[in-house]
Symmetry: C2
Subunit: 486 residues, 2 copies
């Protein structure tokens, strides 16, 4: 009998093929819009046909004769490859419709969609066919679904960067193994995700937006994506739409476990959750600071100042990246706070990206306790989160995550600098893509886009989006030589 292979490729390819069929199905959902707006049907149809057929053929070829054995290595590979393969086929509608002509651009745009980043290379969004814009928003929504299953089912199982903590709160999930109940939890969260999306579509549609815009913006909101159908992003709409979007951005950046409890009227779980309280506190504090600053230093009207402040704060903190105002035109002592939010990120267990609030919370708590520990060196002083002691192992994981995050930012800035970009643009683009935000500072400010980057920089930034979205380790581990050795 031959040696057991290190990696069970068959099961990986089978999962990816199955996901291609799912992607093909989602492509078809754009056809009604193409038909309604009298646009050519072939781009989505052919894309769907190609994607679905390839998926189906591989599935049939594999048949039922394969090992169902999924270990850690297979888990990592499935996660890392899924976003790449789905992005690859997701470029087809852009390329076939002629909306995007270069492959690097199309891949950047699709990866940006599926990682819920929302960074765009499109100079004139409104000239793109509606059904292609729909597909663009749909990549966000698919990405959001992917993130939910990733967070609930896969990251805790792989033990990455303290994500065990997030699910420790959820009944029926044990972080140490892939429990059948996890599927149930993922489905429950998808239910919440769909519910919020429908609610937002209806509320937006009830205002000034037409059905098409309502659907697109709801997809982008709930995934904390940030693609809009308008060149002016959300500045193209009035206060009502903006407030609705603010509300749902806040929902999207909240741990879905809390939505589950809220739906079951267990509101004490929300009150007790420290990450949720810090999340709301940050939003409140930055909004107040920015509002007051805008009123006093920029002579903005009170309501407009409050709305811009709240919208921008929530949009950046949740890593959505929708825009109602050009914040880098604000004085530096205002936008530095918006810039600081880019390093924080959404809540764990939400669709938001970035470092995540819970990690910062644990790091600050631990730094604080380090002082205590230095004085009382005999005492064991654990970090507490939601009234429970957090193991030193998890703190270690979280610290390692953050350090690698900082290291990647530093490397990202240096790489972009070498391609000839200036300081602010290098930092802005690195943090905005790695944190899955979209707009940054400098040349990638809120009213700019990523069209002017070199193809190399676009591939590099696509890679940063992938790294950030998959919590760094999933991608880095697959790239390490140790992974490929027994």
């Amino acid at each position: 009998m031959p040696n057991k292979r290190l990696i069970n490729w068959t099961i990986i390819i089978r999962v990816l093929s199955f996901l291609l069929i799912v992607e093909a199905f989602f492509m078809l959902t754009g056809l009604p819009f193409a038909w309604f707006y009298n646009e050519p049907l072939f781009p989505l149809m052919i894309s769907s046909l190609v994607t679905g057929t390839i998926g189906l053929l591989i599935l049939l070829k594999i048949g039922k004769n394969y090992s169902k054995n999924i270990g850690k290595r297979e888990g990592y590979l499935i996660v890392a490859l899924t976003w790449v393969v789905i992005s690859f086929f997701g470029t087809l509608p852009f390329l076939l419709s002629g909306a995007i002509t270069h492959f690097a651009d199309a891949f950047f745009e699709t990866m940006s969609g599926l990682t819920t980043t929302g960074a765009s290379i499109l100079n004139d969004i409104e000239s793109v066919p509606k059904n292609i814009l729909y597909w663009r928003s749909m990549t966000h929504w698919i990405g959001g679904m992917g993130i939910i299953v990733l967070t609930v089912a896969i990251l805790p199982f792989l033990g990455i960067g303290g994500m065990q903590l997030m699910v420790a709160e959820m009944p029926g999930i044990q972080p140490d193994k892939l429990h059948p109940r996890i599927t149930a939890t993922a489905k429950r969260f998808w239910g919440i995700y769909v519910l919020f999306t429908i609610a937002e579509i209806l509320l937006l549609w009830a205002g000034e937006m037409d059905f098409f815009d309502s659907v697109n913006h709801s997809f982008a909101t709930m995934a904390t994506g940030g693609f809009s159908t308008r060149n002016a992003s959300i500045a193209a709409f009035g206060p009502y739409s903006q407030y609705v979007i603010i509300l749902f951005m806040i929902f999207a950046g909240t741990n879905f476990t809390l939505h589950y409890y809220a739906l079951h009227s267990q509101f004490n779980k929300l009150r007790e959750n420290q990450e949720f309280r810090v999340y709301l506190t940050i939003i409140a504090l930055v909004t107040v600071y920015v509002t007051v600053s805008l009123v006093f230093f920029m002579n903005t009207g009170a309501e407009k100042a409050f709305r811009d402040a709240l919208f921008t704060t929530v949009s950046i903190l949740t890593t959505t990246g929708f825009v109602t105002t050009d914040y880098i035109l604000w004085p530096y002592f205002i936008w530095i706070f918006i810039f600081a939010l880019m390093f924080i990120g959404g809540s764990a267990g939400s669709t938001g990206g970035g470092v995540k609030i819970v990690r910062h919370l644990l790091l600050v708590k631990n730094s604080w306790l380090e002082m205590k520990r230095a004085i009382h060196q005999q005492a064991i002083i654990p970090v507490k989160y939601n009234h429970k002691s957090v193991s030193k192992e998890i703190i270690f994981n979280v610290m390692a995550f953050f350090l690698i995050y900082v290291l990647i930012i530093a490397l990202g800035v240096v790489v972009l600098a070498i391609t000839g970009l200036d300081f602010e643009t290098s930092i802005g683009a690195t943090i905005a893509t790695l944190g899955n935000i979209g707009p940054g500072i400098g040349g990638v400010g809120p009213v700019e886009n990523y069209a002017f980057f070199s193809p190399f920089a676009k591939w590099f930034l696509s890679f940063l989006m992938l790294l950030g979205r998959l919590e760094l380790f999933t991608v880095l581990i697959v790239m390490s030589p140790a992974f490929w050795r027994r």
Copy 2:
């Protein structure tokens, strides 16, 4: 019998008083220069008299009737207060001579000297009396001596940020207690420090520099300080002086343990020391990159390009801060590497500041191993440094140190932004003071100074210099409420 007091203040005040007498003595050493250059003798004489008398009176008042009990709390307080008190009295020569008129300025300059930072508020250095410039350089040299005793004797004893590692290599030092042999080691290191200083004075004097300039620049070099006697810094001198200073900056940024071994011909210790190898590798790589870039993109002559590249690399990496060229006039893709060096710092156990190379080395090694650990979760995979396993406790300490360092940079940038400074200047000033470098980027670039900052910003930056020089924890712990509770 009354409760034993939490803190033995008498011993703390006694140590500080003793150090004031030492400071008074060092002030007197500037009198020959005042006499030689026909400058008023009273500033240094009165400063010395006031400082020494106060120290002496307190010592006499305390007498021999005090508890000799020094615990951790007393250790922290002595360290944190020493730099503040010595800085306070160190302002006297500046103020009495009229060279500096505002107290905030004088304190900034003295703290900058004693923390071996080298950031200056003087607009015209050459108009300052020679004996006051000597005192300014002397604050560097005193600071350097302080750092040596801090590193050898106090930090390992307090167990701060992995500094145990540095002394683990040194015979006769046990990090867990204040051993009498530690005094011997400190004296040995001071001997090396004095030896290098004398050697540099002689070598510089043998060139174009006069005795006064040779002494001043040698003090500033060996302390990795950066104060010069010339407005143009080291650009005022020729290639010979520059190469001599480069050599001694490299010595000053090296772990003094290695000098000790080199003097005892144990060169294998140098070869085997991983921090030393990384230190030389960074210098070599950045120098080559900058040299080649300057030759190709700036049409600089080969020797000049190499000399500027090597000088700037060594000066910033060792946190000296001497300047031969205005590096922020270089294209951004060149100076970003100089900027990156600001986050690295010198070797542990040297007079260099910043994060220190060994910490980065451990963090990078640990991040790399995190990948391995994620795949082989049963295996215990320790970080190795110089062929020995490093305890998880030390890695934890180092991570906490680095995270707090990053946090302080973030807070520093935000605070400076609120005072109205631009992005690059905020980052530049924060990292250049916290890292004890001196010159940064933006408004505090290599040919600028810190005169234009508001008094608040000057006090704040003085605080950052203190924080950075005392390895963060020493100062932060004293500021934490837990420190003052039983």
